[in-house]
Subunit: 386 residues, 4 copies
Amino acid sequence: MSARWERREIVLRTTATGHRLTAPVFWCHGRNERPLAYIQANVHGGELQGNAAILALFDLLEKEAPRGSLLFAPRVNPIAASQQIGDYVAGVYDFGSGQNFNRGYLYLTGPSRASSAPYVDVDAFSAVHRDATLTEIRDGFREALKAALHAIRESAATWGLDTRLEFALAIQELAVEADVVLDLHTGDRAPRYLYAPEGAVAATRAFGIPFVLEVPPRFAGALDEATFVPWNDLSEAFKRVARSDVRRFVDGFTVELGSMNAFSLAQGTEDAKRIASVLRYYGILDGEPDDPAYRISSCAVADYQSIAAPAGGLVDTVVSPGSPVKKGDLLARLVDPSLCGLPPRSADAVIEVRAPEDGIVILYHAFASIPKGARLLSMMTRVKPL
Amino acid sequence: MSARWERREIVLRTTATGHRLTAPVFWCHGRNERPLAYIQANVHGGELQGNAAILALFDLLEKEAPRGSLLFAPRVNPIAASQQIGDYVAGVYDFGSGQNFNRGYLYLTGPSRASSAPYVDVDAFSAVHRDATLTEIRDGFREALKAALHAIRESAATWGLDTRLEFALAIQELAVEADVVLDLHTGDRAPRYLYAPEGAVAATRAFGIPFVLEVPPRFAGALDEATFVPWNDLSEAFKRVARSDVRRFVDGFTVELGSMNAFSLAQGTEDAKRIASVLRYYGILDGEPDDPAYRISSCAVADYQSIAAPAGGLVDTVVSPGSPVKKGDLLARLVDPSLCGLPPRSADAVIEVRAPEDGIVILYHAFASIPKGARLLSMMTRVKPL
Amino acid sequence: MSARWERREIVLRTTATGHRLTAPVFWCHGRNERPLAYIQANVHGGELQGNAAILALFDLLEKEAPRGSLLFAPRVNPIAASQQIGDYVAGVYDFGSGQNFNRGYLYLTGPSRASSAPYVDVDAFSAVHRDATLTEIRDGFREALKAALHAIRESAATWGLDTRLEFALAIQELAVEADVVLDLHTGDRAPRYLYAPEGAVAATRAFGIPFVLEVPPRFAGALDEATFVPWNDLSEAFKRVARSDVRRFVDGFTVELGSMNAFSLAQGTEDAKRIASVLRYYGILDGEPDDPAYRISSCAVADYQSIAAPAGGLVDTVVSPGSPVKKGDLLARLVDPSLCGLPPRSADAVIEVRAPEDGIVILYHAFASIPKGARLLSMMTRVKPL
Amino acid sequence: MSARWERREIVLRTTATGHRLTAPVFWCHGRNERPLAYIQANVHGGELQGNAAILALFDLLEKEAPRGSLLFAPRVNPIAASQQIGDYVAGVYDFGSGQNFNRGYLYLTGPSRASSAPYVDVDAFSAVHRDATLTEIRDGFREALKAALHAIRESAATWGLDTRLEFALAIQELAVEADVVLDLHTGDRAPRYLYAPEGAVAATRAFGIPFVLEVPPRFAGALDEATFVPWNDLSEAFKRVARSDVRRFVDGFTVELGSMNAFSLAQGTEDAKRIASVLRYYGILDGEPDDPAYRISSCAVADYQSIAAPAGGLVDTVVSPGSPVKKGDLLARLVDPSLCGLPPRSADAVIEVRAPEDGIVILYHAFASIPKGARLLSMMTRVKPL
């Protein structure tokens, strides 16, 4: 029996001329409604490859009817995708508000900074549900989160729904349903790497992605955090009332599928295999996840460090993203011809940038010309095997 | 005896081609080094009028040698001032990072979110200075704040100074010296209005500005907060060790001098008079502050509310910024001709926006065309006389 | 008998996410299909007021059924209208191609620079139609122009329709039908003024707009030229075969309705009256055009001169747009505080800009801060009464 | 004897805050002042590689003192280099004026469209110099061109120097001195290719670049044309007075060094070798030019055709830039997931783009997401060996 599919459109923004910028949402109903995965791509306008992964998953699901269900939102941000000036898409920050499109989600178990939004009090919830079954807790808490989203939408009736809220609600109203959320991004110039919730080791290994940044359960606005932090808060609240059996029921991952501005259907097939393995882990697809083909290196997000360019200039990279480096290794040359004296020599134009610590270079700035102080590169430090 | 002047340049950014974007700083040494005012203008690239006020203050100081001293930084943000696309300057958000240029300052008595920055522990400071004189406390705390700034700069030696830090440090290294800080901004389409620290009533009245938003002592990244919140924290810490004589020694104000993209030397003379009155209040100029010519209306910043545009469209404003309105009053028409049916009638294109509460309309969106969800207007509610 | 209305949508652009950016077109069929006016507004994204005029014309046409017919395209450029960065719309140049949206139309009686587009050879046409009636000539030439547009669209089948062509064709396929075209724009900071074809004196007077720039019959890419220059070329071609009775049958005007970023429904009613007067002149509405209320000043477009800012700085304007000035009169102060020496004086910061000739100041740059070399203001010179 | 070097700065723009955006110019005086080459890089802000070539030429000139002289302007456009929004530089079009930075140069032997600029009348010049020696003609004509540039600068005294003129003059006042001009650009996603003046076969072969677009002697605003077209006009004028010995004395090339946003010092060494070979051809370096290592393919610029994207979407490229293709070959897939039906299949999302003719694919759009109608790719057609 093949899966049953539905499609609808969500509205992310309405322009000044009244055009509704929508994203298509494809809902694949498998043999069971749950577990349910929510997979979106391209929330940053220039991070394209996740769309190829989703298209390849469409084809995979035609061959392999899922045990659970899946919600897909490719090209989820039509606003950012059209922030094209000249040749390039500048899709991270909203041209209207400066807001990073992946930092404006709502923290449903804590008051959001920018709004007097309703939220779920996990301690009150755990007190009331102290003797409930795990299923009652899971279902009840999800209903509570959905009620909070509904209340936020309602409370905007008086003063209006601002662009950040409208965007966040459109996406979180889908994501809140899921048992696992995959937010498909890319790095700047980067290999595949992964932001994974602390402690989700087995799920993380199922991705088979060699570089992992472990995200602590603290909300800073991203979708992965907006997904798993409330469930982590719930688990902690139950511990405070002496129930240690309430684990974090929901996970959220930010999956970085290579470099910004790269798009390949062929690579998408490979990416879909990685994602399928995770879906097997979560019981959404049948079968067992793959064993990772590589040794997996991880570090805490706090140990994922960036070098701010010590000068403005052209960027001549030295190592391939994904390479281990030792403290003092040359990582990049910043080149400014105006530094040349007379007679001019190329060496005069070069400022060398070296590794401040041992680690793994994960990404370089997407463009090979940057002002002083922009992020030149980011690297994992205090790396350990996962 | 006339004042002694010094001038230097601060560097706010270095471009990819190595050009240093600087701002001129003019230091007017009066009869005494203190009290000292720091006055900057145009941190948002399109908010111009503060520069006219500073120029008029230059002329005023030639006639009237000050008792204290003053530091002026007109055109303090050459980065934002050049974010000009087509006809207009888009100067609020950094094109490179999305950062609001007035939300990236450092909280020197609390850990900054985006950096592991050193900071001053006010409780440790108050414990050590429990028996110190007020002068010792004031001078000692200022030195501690300066040491924190220095330590932040030093700690960036390893991984580099990012654009936000470089910008914030350049300005805060000046502002930290001051007894009062005036950050000269404008609204979008607005009258003169003022963000003033809660409780600074007499100083606030000295401005003679009819609309006042009272800022609580909580840090959210703006320069006024970065200025007065640490001193407020200090005062609170001393209260915790039972010394109630340590008042908040330093104030910070955001002064909104009319509308974005307006610039008038003649109006600058009027604005300089308002500022001179405040400088008299703080003892930087001789004489008494002016009595306000108008009744002053105030509300808490939390009661300063914005209407998000309920639809995309053209904006036909109905009341003048600064007008009191009653709940239900028509405030604006949003106009979208595509809403017209057949035969088309202008009324079909109009969505009326009415006041959700009683209050005073302070500003309208700067541009007369906006997408759904953008801030259409902001208004004071729960207004009370100051 | 009231007019019959139709509505359809034209597509101006399809985004990278497949969203079609459309404009609504309202066709008012009066007692006769001809004469036909085509009236569009807001082809530059920040020039808004024409939309108010069109809405007011809708209401006027409900009261007064027209003798001829009218085609309206308000908000005709949804691409430009969404080029909003921060607070402002930068709507003149296409973010993707740099193209001024009002310089990319096709010259249907001469080869377009950027395309090997088919065109109508007026000399061949006049040779063939040497003995035709005026009606045959008019109708035949219009069909020839339409055939050229059709052929251009067809010829793009192989290599594709680029964004400029797609935009131009969508609009010119409407405009080509008309006997008079009004393209509603605004100046930067300006009064109402008018670009009118050379020689169209009576029609021009019917607008009652006090400032007129006379456009020679030479194509430079704008819609008014794209409209009337082919018909002028035809008239000239017939003169070459000794028929002087073939006047220019079609006129095109660019109507500047005040300042960019101003929008007022109330002013729109006034603007609609001006346009209605012109429609009476052309026989599309019944009755006689109004006599102009003011003396009308005109000059050739070649005598409409711009002052490039002699320095970067803040702009303090001195005269109201629309004011007559004498050579040597102060027009603006450019203000750069970094020019101040010690002690700083406001006068040091000021560079005065004076009129190089007698004339009438028509517009100032829209923003009060500009780089060196940007258009500071434009003024009519060699002004004569119309 | 080693070369003597000088350095100076040219000013390309002065910002609204008075900052002068400059480029460094390095003048290498060899054994003779002539022949002289002018080599600039990065006039489009995102086209970086030419800077690496210039730096490598600096090192080469330290080892090998030149016979003639060279003028270098790396990073010649600091305006464009700072047009960075988010991660990318949008450096082709001036944010202020929409002007393509490589289309605003002055045509010194024909009236420029946008200015009433003085120019040199080649027919008058050839009449006067009918009996002059070739050296007198060459030197005299260069002086005439320089006088025209001077007159243009002077004539701007009244109404001011606009940004386009200021930029063009700063560069052309250098380039006019040269016997050969190399303007170092890059394609979007492209191999090395070359725009060469029609007929300059031997010089063109000296580059050893496999793909050549032949530029006819018609001015369209680019620097290569601004360089050689006046000298071509002169040659033609002398032919009209029956002197066929006056060949085109000066050549200009646009050298495309790979892809936008690529920068490699190592590749720069290779690029410098190509340029050195050309400098040998022109007698600026000693020795003979290299024989090209590859078969060189060429076509007329008119046969260099672009495919406008037939739909908006993600771009999955199929062939490597530089590949020959046959009519009907698949070149790219445009991918829009919103085209998927139910159940969704990846194939539904794909629009195939095939070669309309035989040819060689030279470049793909720089970004892998584009709106409908943007240039998807460009290819040479009617290719012939050079």
